[in-house]
């Protein structure tokens, strides 16, 4: 979330798409209701189903699964045509006026941007650049070609937005084909209804109003597509066009699905990052310096503007990380132990773990609270992969499907005896039995206290990992082995090494200084050995450490700030500055400089977040300004300080996206529509790859898979966890499939009858819930059915163990297709057939 949960109450207009917050985030959704109650805000819901969120909405449109970009592209067209954008914001705070490379080509009918290489199914993105001068080679993501040209240091710029090669004009041209008629054919939303939605959402900018604010709320309904990142980008672009980013009640708000996956992302529990969004080194970097050179951007902006370019501090963060990991063993001489870091040059993401396990590369798996069989996609493939692994270590609190893959339904005793995988199942501590911090969707780090002792027989999660690591280290100490140095030299100086105190770990994450230091501006001093007050103090000379620079400031000499519990909110804007601690530097709304106009005055005086104080010549505010504190508005420094341009990117240049600088509508990989109506020559995302094992099968209409299936959660259940909780099982006791009344009538089906849903990969059996909440759709003149399946049931659980379910996980159905940017699987839309079971 760029903003926060409570901040939603400041919105005047709320678009929920690709999400169902009433279902999945009920307690955060209250702030939507507060906006409605206190500001007469309007809630627009666009979803394949009439959801719980839709039930309290003011406008609902049923959309075909996976056609969000067509909807949003049409919305961009509408708001440009009707001038429902904030021009001052657009010109000054976005790259709308930047001139784009002459060679850059829009996809038009071809459906691909300039630079597409059909053989490698990837783009040479050299032309996705600004016109200008200066600059250096660009950063590349792992697995993508390096050596691109860099962004120009000085960008050509047209403040009138009239230049036909400026971003704004290209944008207009790109979405000119997303007409309401076309949107109707693609999405199934009738033209009239669609125009009502466009008018309602953009009505906040009617007649040049710049006071009102709209927010966009989304979740996995946007991310879990083969064009997931671009779904979100389209929304971000709309918010930039309307000037809603950085403002209270605005922003682009990802509702993360779980308690700490924001934290897990921050902490880089993912292959392509190191903590704090530092990009992992690639083999070609060659040295620490090479790595830093590649991942540290340089400013790129119109000549007379300023750019903070905060990522220019990357080396400070990286050196401090290496000091946290390796302590005294990371020195300038050994390039801060650069060799100790594994180098990544390919995709090791989730789906690839299972693919690589299937193909014999991955032999051992740790799964801590991660039920890979259930998560899928293509659960059968994951089960087959596990059969080929040497060993699996599962840390769990309940019996789960992954640890029992070897006796999943359909495996006979004989087959079981042939499975050579050793599985360790280690009982962990429950949430109430451990402390530590979670980072919520709004980037708040909150400490939680342990209420109960860990049950006898169980051990703390960190204790288990620590003990395995220490035991392994002991073996390397005793026996030696391949490249033991990083293992032997890793800092592990916790008071209780085999069960580290998490408070101690958080102190390490925050980081400390090894030398006395002074802030030249404030003359504040810190002593050697003290906690670093904020990441501004981090240095690239090895005198500071920090396990995650964005968390720097969470545990300072003032103590553990994630434990703060002052609920006061003096501004009334839902900032709550002294409750817990928010990254970065306790800032609650990101890019909040953009809540003011160019002159530093708030767009809306009733929602003042930050402002330029002429008296003190500093930025002041009720929130921590997301800006250089003393940058005078006249300097024209861009508010998007993490971008080298300093402005929001309507055009995503160079390596930013694998599949295009502007979002483009593509059909899901499994789609009932044979042609991409908007870009007729390219049906799917051109850069999406299919996996190749025998388990990776893909269905099409030709094979009889004509029904669109989507998957989702219910508010009564939590993933694959609450099927062990008798209370939640009582609320929703059995799996079901939601189908429309028309489809049921056609099948001669009554609610409660069992049906079998099959995809090219597997079958799912459950009772049918016949409902008015999903309707048959007319897509390009053809009647199309959509069905929906909640994901919560597997083969271990209360209902499952009582034999009340068919023991078919939903992800037996879902395909192994991932988004080319985020590598998130396409769980949300695929093809099935439905029959009575």
């Amino acid at each position: 979330m760029t903003n926060g949960w409570v901040d939603i109450k400041n919105a005047d207009m709320i678009l929920v798409m690709g999400g169902n917050p009433a279902e999945n985030h009920p307690c955060g959704f209250k702030w939507v209701i507060e906006a409605k109650r206190n500001r007469n805000a309007k809630l627009i819901v666009v979803d394949p189903r009439f959801t719980r969120t839709a039930s309290v909405s003011d406008f609902f449109a049923q959309i075909r699964v996976g056609t969000d970009i067509a909807f949003l592209g049409g919305l961009i067209r509408y708001l440009i045509e009707n001038q429902r954008y904030n021009k001052e914001y657009l010109v000054n705070f976005t790259n709308a006026g930047f001139i784009v490379d002459k060679e850059f080509k829009l996809p038009e009918d071809e459906g691909v941007f300039s630079g597409f290489d059909e053989k490698s199914l990837s783009y040479n993105r050299a032309t996705w650049n600004y016109e200008g001068s200066g600059g250096k080679p660009a950063a590349a993501k792992p697995g993508q070609p390096a050596g691109l040209p860099g962004l120009p240091e000085r960008v050509d710029f047209d403040p009138t937005l009239q230049n036909p090669r400026c971003v704004f004009q290209l944008l207009k041209a790109h979405y000119s084909r997303y007409t309401p008629e076309m949107v109707e054919r693609v999405t199934g939303i009738p033209r009239e209804k669609y125009l009502q939605a466009c008018d309602l959402f953009t009505s906040i900018r009617k007649d040049g109003d710049t006071k009102k604010v709209a927010t966009v709320i989304y979740a996995l309904g946007w991310t879990q597509h083969s064009f997931g990142t671009q779904n979100i980008r389209t929304a971000a672009m709309i918010q930039l066009l309307m000037g809603n980013v950085g403002r209270a009640g605005g922003g682009v708000n990802a509702l993360r699905g779980h308690s700490n996956i924001q934290g897990a992302t921050d902490m880089a529990g993912i292959f392509d990052n190191l903590p704090g969004y530092l990009k992992v080194p690639i083999p070609a970097d060659g040295s620490f310096e090479g790595w830093m050179k590649r991942i540290t951007p340089t400013p790129s902006k119109p000549g007379d503007w300023a750019s903070f370019n905060y990522w220019s501090n990357t080396p400070k963060f990286a050196v401090s990380l290496m000091k946290a990991f390796y302590g005294d063993a990371a020195t300038k001489q050994n390039e801060w132990a650069y060799d100790y870091l594994p180098k990544v040059d390919r995709n090791y993401s989730w789906v690839n773990i299972w693919d690589n396990m299937y193909n014999g590369v991955v032999k051992g798996l740790f799964a801590f609270g991660m039920n890979g069989v259930m998560i899928g996609p293509d659960s059968n493939k994951n089960i087959d992969a596990l059969k080929k692994a040497d060993w699996v270590v599962v840390g769990e609190i309940y019996p789960d499907e992954t640890s029992e893959f070897w006796r999943s339904p359909g495996i006979t005793q004989e087959e079981m005896k042939k499975i050579q995988t050793t599985v360790y199942r280690l009982p962990c501590a429950g949430f109430a039995e451990k402390d530590g911090s979670f980072t919520n969707s709004a980037r708040w780090l909150q400490w939680k206290n342990a209420a109960l002792p860990i049950p006898p027989g169980c051990r703390s999660d960190q204790g288990i990992v620590a003990q395995i690591f220490l035991k392994t280290r002991e073996l390397y100490q005793k026996e030696g082995g391949k490249f033991p140095d990083p293992i032997l030299k890793l800092t592990w100086a916790y008071t209780n090494p085999s069960d580290p105190s998490l408070a101690e770990v958080l102190k390490e994450i925050n980081g400390k200084t090894f030398a006395d230091a002074e802030d030249p501006a404030t003359k504040q001093q810190i002593k050697a050995g003290q906690q670093v007050p904020s990441f501004a103090w981090l240095k690239d000379d090895g005198t500071t450490s920090s396990g995650n620079w964005i968390y720097c400031g969470a545990y300072t000499e003032a103590g553990n700030l994630t434990m703060r519990r002052d609920p006061a909110d003096p501004s009334g804007l839902g900032v709550h500055p002294n409750w817990a601690w928010s990254w970065p530097v306790n800032r609650r709304v990101l890019y909040n400089r953009a809540s003011c106009n160019v002159d530093g005055k708030p767009w809306d005086a009733t929602r003042k977040q930050v402002w330029w104080n002429e008296g003190t010549q500093k930025w002041a505010g009720v929130d921590v300004p997301d800006f250089k504190a003393d940058s005078h508005p006249k300097d024209h420094m861009g508010p998007f300080i993490m971008n080298p341009e300093g402005v929001g990117r309507i055009f995503g240049p160079l390596g930013a996206f694998a599949d295009g600088p502007f979002p483009t509508f593509y059909e899901p990989v499994e789609s009932p529509v044979e042609n991409n109506l908007l870009h007729p020559k390219q049906r799917h995302s051109p850069v999406v790859r299919r996996y190749k094992t025998p388990d990776d099968k893909y269905g099409s209409v030709k094979d009889g898979y004509t029904v669109i299936c989507t998957t989702y959660r219910l508010t009564e259940h939590y993933h694959y966890w609450t099927k062990n909780n008798p209370m939640n099982v009582q609320l929703v006791p059995e799996p079901f499939v939601e189908i429309s009344e028309e489809m049921a009538a056609e099948m001669g089906l009554q609610g409660g009858e069992r049906i079998k849903v099959s995809s090219a990969r597997g079958a799912y059996i459950a009772k049918a819930m016949v409902t008015k909440r999903i309707k048959a759709m007319t897509i390009d003149g053809k009647k199309t059915y959509q069905i929906g399946i909640p994901i919560h049931w597997g083969y271990r659980g209360i209902a499952e163990d009582e034999g009340k379910t068919a023991k078919t996980p939903v992800n037996l159905l879902s395909p192994t297709v991932v988004d080319p940017n985020a590598y998130t699987p396409e769980f949300k839309g695929f093809l099935v057939k439905v029959e009575k079971a």
Partner: protein, 296 residues
């Protein structure tokens, strides 16, 4: 002492005066349920079961998101889900929290024959005292909302207590506290009525629900649970909420005219027979008298 003598203003089947009747300044408490912001998440259902430590009982799929068809003795609070297509073709998914309405004039209490099995506190909460309950089920007959439920093992009746244990300690009921969207609100009846009115007006003025209104049925003297409805003219849409509920006529007839008539008749009959005896005596003083005079 949590709930003192003076905190009781009505007692079922009670033959004396009631200690708290009109002796307290205490305000009436009230739950406000704004159905227009209910998302049917069932947090209130869970909060109720959890707070009251009620045992779980099996449920079955019923082609709906609704947990069970109606409340149970161990499930006092149930969201009713209804899919409703309006005349303009738009769909409404109406959700209503169904629980004891805590009527000012409770039909259950009226029908109850057991002394002290049902009481109404001065704050308006209608509470079942299971210790005094005899399990006759007359409260079922008396209730216009289908609330009291029978436990087959204990042979007693159960229903929502409006968390009287919490309220008496100054806390809000468990369901109210849990409600994520704030569709549930708790306070004095006056405050809730005002709040409901404001919300209904907002729905009429800003959200196009011309018939939005407040449900506080006068037929049972008003309720301790009031609803804001999108369409107050059709409460039946919300899972059969009666549009003008009252204590069933049969119960009223039974408990008033019939009872008095019967009592008068019985007492009168006894007196009549006694007077008859006084006046006429037995048909024969001794059995021997029966013998015909003069012998046979």
């Amino acid at each position: 002492m949590s709930q003192a003598t003076l905190r009781i203003q009505k007692i079922s089947a009670h033959s004396g005066t009631v200690p708290g009747e009109d002796t307290q300044r205490q305000y009436q408490v009230c739950k406000l349920v704004d159905t227009t912001t209910c998302i049917g998440c069932k947090a209130c259902e869970v909060a109720c079961v959890e707070w009251n430590d009620m045992p779980f009982s099996p449920t079955a799929f019923g082609n709906t998101y609704q947990t069970m068809p109606e409340t149970r003795w161990n499930y006092w609070n149930l969201i009713l889900f209804n899919e409703h297509e309006r005349e303009d073709g738009t769909l409404q998914w109406l959700m209503r929290k169904h629980q004891c309405m805590h009527c000012a004039e409770p039909g259950c209490l009226e029908a109850c024959p057991a002394d002290g099995a049902i009481v109404q506190y001065t704050n308006g909460i209608v509470d079942f005292q299971q210790a005094n309950c005899i399990g006759c089920g007359y409260c079922i007959t008396g209730c216009p909302f289908n609330i009291p439920k029978f436990n087959n093992v204990t042979k007693r009746m159960y229903k929502c207590s409006l968390c009287a244990d919490r309220v008496s300690e100054g806390l809000e009921p468990a369901c109210i506290k849990s409600c994520p969207t704030g569709c549930l609100h708790f306070g004095s009846k006056d405050d809730m009525t005002e709040l409901a009115g404001i919300r209904a007006k907002q729905l009429r003025d800003h959200y196009g629900y011309d018939k939005a209104g407040v449900y506080d049925p006068p037929g049972v003297g008003g309720t301790g649970v009031i609803y804001v409805l999108h369409d107050a003219t059709q409460p039946e849409l919300y899972g059969g909420l009666p549009s003008n509920p009252s204590i069933p006529l049969a119960v009223k007839f039974w408990k008033h005219p019939l009872k008095w008539l019967g009592n008068i008749a019985m007492v009168g009959g006894l007196i009549g027979l006694f007077v008859h005896y006084l006046k006429f005596g037995p048909k024969a003083r001794e059995e021997a008298d029966l013998a015909p005079k003069g012998g046979a």
